[in-house]
Amino acid sequence: MKKRLLLLLCAATVILTGCWDSIELNDIAIVTGMAIDPGKDKKYQLTVGYVNPAQYSKQNPAQGAPVSIMTLEGNSLPEISAKMNVGVSRRLIFSHTRALYINETVAKDNGVSHFLDSLERSPQFRNDFNILITKNHTARDFAMINDPVERVPSLKVQKSIKTLLKSWGGDPRVRLTDFIDAIIAEGRSPVASTVVIEGDPKKGQNAESNMEVKAPAKIMLDGLAVFKKDKLIGYLSLDDTRNYLWTQKLESTMISIPCEEDQDDENPLYFDIVITNNKSEMRTEYKGNQPQLKVNIFSEASINSMQCQKDLSKIATFTELEKKSDKQIKNMITETIEKVQKDYGVDIFGFGEALNRQHYKKAKKVLPYWNEEFARADVEVDVRIALRRSGTRSKSFISDLPKKDAED
């Protein structure tokens, strides 16, 4: 009796209502890329790129563009994206967004925080898409460039960033939450990756461009965008990005170091080391009233190529090379930090947070005007590279060549 009543109740609720949140796969469009440009009449112009699923069908792959895009103007992202169906037949699903392209003018003039909030708030958006600042071209163009290998452009960008991060390091590894965290943090300023288009974006939009061996247009990573609070204030080059990453969390990288410090420019000789394991530590201290920024870096590396005429079977060579790498890397990193200090005066490295962790009392006082403190601080970078091994050969064959021949 009671159970029947309960069953009846359940059945009634079910029958009366139906399924609220369900949506068929045939009725959704999976958005992989979003691009934000300044609008002409309204605040923003949003472009979404969604996958054309027929392209992925194994049985009868349709010949056509792998993605379609749709552009609309409006004052806020949720409104525009809800309105997208004026031109798109399916409901847009944003949970698989892979890349968010932000036009540099938007980032410079309006700041990014206004739309980042809606992204963070929405349960649809995940924390796994890349925030990319687009240079030179409109963000819209980036959502359209085809790629012969990956087909879906945003997937391509994300994959290439991921791979780059593993092999060389050139992406700050910033996700939405990290970015927002950095905006509100007092001891850190946000950064984001930048991308550029190489080639002609008009040609790159064609599906036929996939037929060509050399793609007419390619999306390329191009270093770092530096923000003050939520406004873009400048850029760093790819090399600086790597140096920046070195202070943060570098997975691995490859670096070439000159054999002699002052060698002739005509035929410089280099040796390459691959960093396999990296540990960096930031310390911020106050000496009197002068802030001191310290970076301690310890890396394990192995030698990957050798143009110098050095005998790698000897301990002394290893020590010598280690010292050279130490110095080179130290210089590089110091240069980058000083450049940021001088040019932008914002602490993108998080030294302020380090101070907060290490000297909480002091930090409480100085953090409100931390950027000024950062700009005038002394920088001290301490690098220690440990060369562990040298590949499958000990001596390079180059060192067996008669010296003259090598020079000729």
Binding site: K2, L5, A12
Partner: protein, 75 residues
């Protein structure tokens, strides 16, 4: 008895909510009570009202059954 319990609990909890609302919203008691009964909290409030009503009917049925059992036991 079950029906009585049902009404006591129902009324008591509503009263409690109203009192807490008074505290939180700084409103008068009358306002809070009227807010509880106005159908503005959700368009689908009908569902829960229906289930609460079902609970009420059930409790009446339960009372009836208890009484019937008692009578049959006595006789």
């Amino acid at each position: 008895m079950v029906t009585f319990t049902f009404s006591v609990i129902f009324a008591g909890l509503l009263l409690m909510i109203a009192l807490i609302d008074m505290f939180i919203w700084q409103q008068s008691f009358y306002q809070c009570i009227s807010k509880l009964f106005a159908l503005d909290q959700g368009a689908n409030e009908g569902y829960v009202i229906a289930t609460a009503a079902a609970g009420f009917i059930y409790s009446i049925a339960m009372d009836y059954r208890i009484r019937k059992n008692k009578r049959s036991q006595q006789s």
